[in-house]
Symmetry: C2
Subunit: 419 residues, 2 copies
């Protein structure tokens, strides 16, 4: 039988001395009221339909993909093949027209706050020595995806590679063409039923269906629910949470899951354990869209923390063609922010000096449009680069292991201290 001994309540007399700012905390009811009014203001303002590329009269044409059903993917492939046959029969030869995914074809759209793909394309002819292999690979991937549509199963990118090692030579080649095929067909990569290994977990006030099974994330113990690799089998989301807490790393996630932080402040806690994977990004977006909840991010106070936040928020360049589906708009930077280091008196020995590379990454971020758009972020990032100091979320453990869940986060919520 599992050990279910009650946790002792922290002794407030002995703790307040070593836990700075604990005395500032209001009763939970008052913090909850603050959160409720914030969340309801947000969900009423977001009833207006979110902006899409089509709403903007951009001078450049942009390319976006959308979620297609398996049968639509199948018929798009079949039309494409028919069109290719006509092309060959009419003497024009066999070639694919493939959207370019090079960085010169990328555009940050401030109104949408994400990166999109412009409409440049390249022709990939079969009858040319430089492109005959890539054209063959493209045809093979199209045929494999067509098989997946017929069988209605999901496979990993690794599985695809192994169907013809001699042709692909290297998984990088089949992966790249897979993204090309998504762009060509105008559908998201998840519509192709090709999935990446998932590593994210979710816990807290969320009920959803995974492949037909109903999952109650308040009853997932400390381990939480592994985020499904295939978003198309995820549905029926319900929640009484007031916000989504997006956590960079698992150490902080474990602390919050064990303390059942989501019962004190109704929320959904989600982490990809480091770099955001596609499954977690899709899952976060789906929660945000269906539940209309604010997303608050808890990341390390270093350039990579902000970079991770930006991948969730604005997307990565590699998959910009799919940014509409992969990005979660309006993520708030809760902490650990550079200004928190002094504000919360993080001891000097728990701060780490930034390396040359860190400082360069920080300065590069200052040049990015999605940072510039938010003056508060620019200010914080300037402070980081100036002080040359970084700190992990775990640095809060210097005030006691539960300082994060018992003082820092409640105070942040009470003060609505996010940017």
């Amino acid at each position: 039988m599992a050990d279910k001994k009650k946790r002792r309540r922290p002794d407030s007399d002995s703790d307040s001395a070593s836990q700075p700012f604990k005395n500032l905390l209001k009763p939970d009811e008052q913090i909850l009221q603050i959160l409720e009014s914030f969340t309801s203001s947000l969900s009423s303002s977001s009833t207006s339909k979110p902006l899409t590329l089509a709403d903007l009269a951009l001078s450049t044409t942009c390319r976006e993909v959308s979620d297609l059903s398996l049968s639509s993917v199948q018929s798009v492939i079949e039309s494409l093949v028919l069109q290719l046959t006509h092309q060959i029969l009419s003497g024009q030869g066999f070639s694919f027209t493939v959207p370019s995914r090079s960085s010169s074809n990328q555009l940050y759209v401030p109104e949408l706050d994400r990166i999109v793909l412009k409409d440049k394309s390249t022709v990939r002819p079969f009858s040319h020595i430089s492109s005959v292999r890539k054209t063959t690979i493209t045809a093979k991937i199209l045929s494999l995806v067509h098989q997946l549509c017929l069988k209605n199963i999901h496979v990993t990118k690794r599985d695809l590679f192994y169907t013809d090692v001699k042709l692909f030579q290297d998984q990088i080649q089949s992966d790249a063409v897979l993204d090309d095929v998504s762009c060509m067909l105008g559908c998201t990569r998840s519509s192709l039923n090709v999935i990446a290994a998932e590593k994210g977990v979710v816990v807290g006030r969320l009920i959803f269906s995974d492949n037909g099974d109903m999952i109650d994330c308040t009853k997932m113990g400390m381990g939480g629910k592994a985020i499904p690799p295939n978003i198309d089998r995820v549905g029926d989301m319900q929640s009484d949470a007031l916000f989504i807490l997006l956590v960079e790393k698992d150490a902080a996630y474990i602390r919050l899951a064990e303390d059942r932080f989501y019962n004190r402040f109704p929320c959904i806690i989600v982490t990809a354990k480091g770099q955001p994977d596609v499954a977690t990004r899709l899952f976060l977006r789906k929660m945000k869209m269906e539940l209309k909840l604010p997303v608050l991010a808890l990341v390390d106070s270093d350039p990579y923390g902000l970079k991770i936040l930006s991948v969730y928020g604005c997307g990565s360049k590699n998959m910009s063609y799919d940014s509409a589906n992969l990005t979660t708009p309006d993520i708030k930077w809760l902490g650990i922010r550079p200004s928190d280091l002094d504000k919360y008196k993080i001891p000097e020995q728990c701060r780490l000096p930034m390396t040359e590379q860190d400082i360069k990454t920080g300065k590069d971020l200052l040049e990015e449009d999605f940072v510039k758009k938010n003056p508060g972020w620019v200010e914080e990032l300037n402070l980081m680069v100036k002080t040359k100091q970084k700190a992990e979320i775990q640095a809060l453990s210097s005030f006691g292991f539960q300082y994060l869940s018992e003082v820092y986060l409640p105070l942040k919520l009470q003060q609505q201290d996010w940017l």
Copy 2:
């Protein structure tokens, strides 16, 4: 609503040509009978108490730790501190006696089929320039663990490090002393309530409690249940499975989870997604011990696949003091075995040439006692080193994405083809 379109049954006419050996498969009922008699023979033979170190009259004394309750850990620490105080007061100075974890102090015990720690110890005096820091770190870790006992919470190794960065300097130092403290106190690391981030998932015919919540792993969709980081809160295991399928990597795991392989052949599917972490090792052992099921391992056909199998089975040198709790006895090597490459006609282009390093690792494994003990393994490993070929589980995708779940595994089970 999630897409729940029925999967088409594979068309047996068109598939049998491209799916070798499919015609050898007997009806599922017959395979299930084979499995049932195997599992029941195993569980009846294992009713005799498993061997322990104490049962063996070894010439060397060995050191092992055991699971202790939090209150026991607390009182062991308090007795130790009392003893240290006496030692200081009696003029003998302040020093810890710490079990040595160097490789010269390791011993493979064939009767137990795992690595154990011999009884050499070193003295760590405070009043010596070379050990004053390490002694201070040891005292600090003891005091932190004592705090965890009082609060009854779990923290990560990273949290421990951050409580005093100035003293520890580097997480490697606090991690190493944490293992020392486990040995000194004679308890497992999980008894100290210090956990490592979990990455394993489990799905299939298992019901268990995680921190008081009942989890039904047949209702965990495709994502599965994340394995809890703290084994002491795991309990109440129930299952109608006939075996546990231990899978090295997530691509194979995803295939089996989506195909709900556990419904065709009642089993529990578990993976640590690569290198075995402590949480998954503890979870696997607990399943094996409580449910008395055979464990069949599906790993890559390369030296690392066998190495991973050996860590689950016999333990790692670094944590040999805890091998009794971390290892799962009698894991069977199901596949992909070097002899399978020819037997299942894996195409040449899906096999990879072994590197010099691979071959060296393979030869080193041949010298290991736990390999030598099993003549079948020696033969397979010799074949691997001789042919200089390796292959991943995913190589089976060359016969179709579902060849693994529809032909290879059922046939392996039918033929009881494990070592």
